[in-house]
């Protein structure tokens, strides 16, 4: 399993908002434009329900909102970079969140889901990658960084 299998040019962005709710909606909107998720309301409900259980701000300025829902057949990843930082994300280390990676998988894709989560979290622990991503100014730049990062380094 490699990251570029899940990365799409059209699903990376520079986040406009600086509130948790706003940025989550931005990423959901991004996913909805692709048309792979039919029931966007369900996705919204699921994402916010999960955040209510416990914030997905996992520290180091990273958040990984993730959820499994019905009607999805391939895992979908969307990434947004916030230059300002999201202060109200309630990360475990109380740092503002700058990188938000949203992961949506099918209800029954337990294994893929866990692997993908693990892959992304492991990647994001890399300081230099994080630095590059945070400094990037456009979706194209983000996309390029991610593609390069993925060159040949398979993590399964």
């Amino acid at each position: 399993m490699e990251l570029n299998e899940f990365i799409d040019k059209d699903r990376v962005c520079i986040l406009q908002g600086n509130k948790k709710k706003e940025v989550l909606l931005e990423l959901i909107e991004l996913i909805s434009q692709q048309g792979e998720v039919h029931d966007i309301e369900r996705l919204k409900d699921a994402i916010f329900y999960r955040e209510k259980l416990m914030s997905t701000g996992i520290g180091l300025g990273i958040a990984v909102p993730h959820v499994r829902i019905e009607g999805v057949y391939h895992p979908i990843v969307a990434m947004g970079i916030s230059h300002e930082g999201i202060l109200d994300y309630e990360s475990i280390d109380n740092q503002p969140v700058k990188i938000v990676v949203m992961i949506v998988a099918g209800k029954w894709q337990h294994k893929e889901y866990i692997k993908l989560l693990s892959l992304i979290v492991t990647k994001m622990k890399d300081d230099s990658l994080r630095g590059k991503l945070i400094r990037s100014r456009s979706p194209e730049e983000i996309y390029k960084i991610l593609l390069n990062e993925n060159n040949g380094q398979a993590i399964s």
Partner: protein, 565 residues
């Protein structure tokens, strides 16, 4: 009312044997017998009593649908039923039982049989002297009745034990006694009739010839049965299909019964010997044989007992005979009671046996009636008729009271419901009876660390995940968690909510276990959450532990039965 009755009866006499075909009679008998049993069950009266009463209503003493000729025509069928009953009783006589209860059975058998014999003989003679004068005649009747009194009918008694699924020392003792005291009764009858013959001064075979005859009857039937048992065992060992086993078993039983009839030995003993060999020679396969016969026999038993009721005819009863019947009944009941309880005490049988065995030995039927008919052949005239009428009258009473009192006694002894099979449990239980009620609930927001703690503290493979309201959201499996742990360090931010599987199928607490088993196999499920109407989790079923739970229940009941002895 009287006129109504008469018209009612007329209608039925119009529908005579000629108008009713045999299948219709058989159908009516089985149908009404079964319906009667269902109704009687509401009043907690054993089904046998219902069959006999329905038989009386349909038979000679009732509306007369079942008439003499048809009963005569069905005599071989009755022997077949008796043979099946004998076979099933033989199946209960396991080696281990003799090792455990042998001495006890022997003491009780001798004691209850002899004391019934002596007491009946004695008081019949005392009372009879008053009516008949001639003391020789009275002594002959007394001795013959006494010897018949020693027999206890297995059919009605065991039917009660089987209906209420009893197990324990009382059940074992009753089975042993009713199975064997017919033999004792045969011996006593042979002795009594030869004494009677010499008392009455008739010329007949000598005592020696008589004892040979008895010895031949008992030995021959046992030998024949043992042969049949080995034949059946060696055939059945090689067959695996149920229908083959059933067909061969029935075939051999009927064959042996036929041979027994041909060579003039006792049918019941022969059938018991077949069962005895099968249960001890091939115990495991034998269990299957007995289960199959057990499933096969209910309609046969219904017919057997209803025909029995239909046969009863008390029309020619005179006052002295009624009095003698009462005397016989008293003597037999007291004799058996005192003898049984004395024998039980002497052999150190459990308290429940000492106390309740006397109430299980009232029943008398086939052997008693058979011997009384034999008496009419050997002593035609006054003696024979008196004996037949007395035995018929008392059989009628005792067959109604016997099963009820047996049921009462085994219930008092705490042995009801202890002899239950897995199938019975599945049939009787609902999801809520078998499910794990204390399976730990995993909260949706529990972290992996907390989940692992729960896992380590319990033994389940699957756990229901619930929200704040305890409503089911999904299921966590040990497999899910294993996958997660093998995939590098995520445990610090994953929740049960992220790790659970959605539930495929759920069931309600009131779903019968049969349906639950079907659901599990149809969907190939390893688990089944049990959810109430409010969607709250009320319990959890794991496929692997359902069978274990059922066998635990059975072992529990077995232990309970053993602890009684």
């Amino acid at each position: 009312m009287k006129i109504m009755d008469r018209q009612f009866l007329n209608i039925f006499s119009f529908i005579s044997l000629y108008n009713l075909n045999i299948l219709l009679i058989l159908g009516l008998t089985i149908f009404l017998g079964t319906v009667g049993a269902r109704i009687f069950k509401k009043f907690r009266i054993p089904q046998v009593v219902a069959y006999i009463i329905i038989g009386i209503l349909l038979g000679t003493m009732g509306i007369g649908i079942i008439k003499e000729p048809i009963i005569k025509a069905f005599e071989p069928f009755n022997l077949f039923a008796l043979g099946l009953i004998g076979f099933m009783i033989g199946g209960e006589l396991k080696k281990e039982m003799f090792q455990k209860y042998g001495k006890q059975l022997f003491y009780i058998l001798i004691s209850e049989g002899l004391s019934a014999f002596l007491l009946v003989t004695l008081i019949v003679v005392l009372v009879g002297n008053f009516f008949f004068g001639s003391s020789k005649l009275v002594w002959a009747i007394g001795l013959l009745l006494g010897s018949i009194a020693a027999a206890t009918a297995p059919a009605a008694t065991t039917d009660v034990l089987w209906e209420y699924k009893t197990r324990g020392p009382l059940t074992t003792t009753v089975l042993g006694i009713v199975g064997m005291d017919d033999g004792l009764s045969l011996v006593l009858f042979a002795i009594a009739s030869s004494i009677a013959v010499s008392l009455l001064g008739k010329t007949s075979a000598g005592i020696l010839a008589k004892s040979f005859r008895t010895l031949y009857e008992i030995g021959g039937s046992i030998g024949l049965g043992i042969l049949g048992g080995f034949a059946l065992s060696s055939i059945v060992k090689k067959i695996n299909e149920e229908y083959g086993i059933l067909a061969f078993s029935i075939g051999i039983i009927v064959l042996i019964l036929g041979i027994a009839k041909l060579i003039g030995v006792d049918i019941l003993l022969a059938a018991m010997s077949i069962g005895f060999v099968v249960t001890n020679y091939i115990p495991r396969k034998g269990k299957e044989v007995f289960e199959l016969i057990d499933k096969f026999s209910p309609p046969i038993y219904v017919l057997f007992f209803t025909f029995f009721g239909a046969k009863l005819n008390l029309g020619r009863l005179t006052l002295p005979l009624i009095l003698l019947s009462v005397v016989y009944l008293l003597g037999r009941t007291m004799g058996k009671g005192i003898g049984a309880s004395f024998g039980a005490r002497l052999s150190g049988a459990p308290k429940t046996v000492q106390k309740y065995l006397p109430f299980c030995l009232f029943s008398q039927a086939g052997v008693a009636i058979g011997l009384s008919i034999l008496a009419t052949h050997r002593f035609p005239g006054e003696i024979g008729n008196a004996i037949v009428l007395i035995i018929t009258t008392t059989t009628f009473i005792v067959q109604i009271i016997g099963p009820i009192s047996t049921k009462w006694a085994v219930a008092k002894a705490g042995e009801v419901g202890l002899n239950i099979t897995e199938e019975d449990i599945i049939r009787q239980s609902k999801a809520k009876d078998i499910m794990d009620k204390d399976v730990p609930l995993i909260n949706e927001n529990m972290s992996l660390t907390e989940i692992l703690k729960v896992f380590s503290e319990s033994n389940y493979l699957y756990y229901p995940v619930v929200n704040k309201e305890k409503k089911l959201l999904g299921v966590l499996t040990v497999d899910n968690i294993k996958n997660t742990l093998m995939t590098s360090g995520l445990n610090w931010f994953l929740l049960a909510f992220d790790l659970m599987e959605p539930p495929v199928v759920v069931t309600s607490p009131d779903t019968p276990m049969r349906e639950v088993k079907e659901l599990l196999s149809r969907h190939n499920l390893e688990y089944l959450p049990v959810v109430g109407a409010d969607k709250k989790v009320s319990g959890f079923l794991e496929a692997r532990s359902i069978n274990r739970k059922i066998s635990t229940k059975i072992i529990q009941l077995q232990k309970q039965a053993e602890s009684l002895g």
